[in-house]
């Protein structure tokens, strides 16, 4: 796992965590909606922030696949490799 990318992503996710979830709860396996309690609207915010932070564009299919933090890292890696 690319630590730098992971930290960058974690910093983005942290902004949208509800108060009852702490940043230490985030792991690669965390499910955005089921475990981190992030609602669908904030999931969109995370995607838009990811696009800006990594200078990539995500599609609707990417969002559907993005269930966990690990999924997000995979998508980021795929997009970056195509740049």
């Amino acid at each position: 796992m690319n630590e730098e990318r992971y930290h960058k992503l974690r910093d983005i996710i942290q902004i949208y965590l509800p108060e009852d979830v702490s940043v230490t709860d985030i792991s690669e396996k965390s499910h955005f909606t089921n475990e981190l309690n992030i609602n669908s609207a904030h999931l969109v915010d995370i995607i838009l922030d990811v696009e800006d932070a990594f200078d990539i564009m995500l599609e609707n299919e990417d969002m559907e696949q993005m269930q966990t933090v690990g999924d997000a890292l995979d998508i980021i890696e795929t997009k970056l490799s195509k740049k």
Binding site: N39, S40, A41, V44, I47, N60, M63
Partner: protein
């Protein structure tokens, strides 16, 4: 899409429909209006002996005109492709500032400006003015819009 078609596709009905007419609809925003009938139920309790339109209702009016009507227009293609589908709306956040009260019988105009519509999330900047052009409230509203099959 004609303005009347958008109104027909709204998932609301009285006593919770707060859109009367659409004056302008483009990819970037909408302008619409609503007149608050003095017979609306909430005036009996908000406030006792002094009817004023509640802020939540003004927010709802801004959301129905500014977010949902615009959303229906932006989703036109999908709505046409999926005949019989109904639009499902979930308000996801609203941050409003209020400047002027709206009394029974007043007509308000809502102007909304699209900030973005991506991954089913529509985020808009909304403003409401009264008949004399005074700013009633303004803010940022976002919601998730999806097509829902009804069989």
């Amino acid at each position: 899409m004609k303005n009347q078609e958008i109104l027909d596709l709204l998932p609301y009905t009285a006593p919770f429909l707060f859109v009367e007419e659409l004056l302008e609809v483009t990819e970037d925003g909408v302008v619409g209006a609503f007149t608050f009938s003095p017979n609306l139920d909430f005036y009996q309790g908000h406030f006792r002996d002094f009817p004023v339109t509640p802020g939540v209702i003004l927010t709802e009016c801004c959301a129905q005109i500014g977010l949902v009507c615009l959303g229906i227009f932006l989703m036109e293609v999908y709505i046409r492709e999926n005949k019989g589908a109904r639009i499902a709306v979930g308000l996801s956040s609203s941050e409003m500032d209020f400047y002027h009260p709206v009394l029974p019988n007043e007509k308000v105009t809502v102007t909304s400006e699209k900030i973005y519509f991506r991954f089913n999330k529509l985020k808009c900047r909304v403003k409401m003015h009264n008949a004399s052009g005074k700013l009633v409230c303004k803010g940022i509203i976002s919601g998730m819009l999806k097509l829902q099959d009804i069989e």
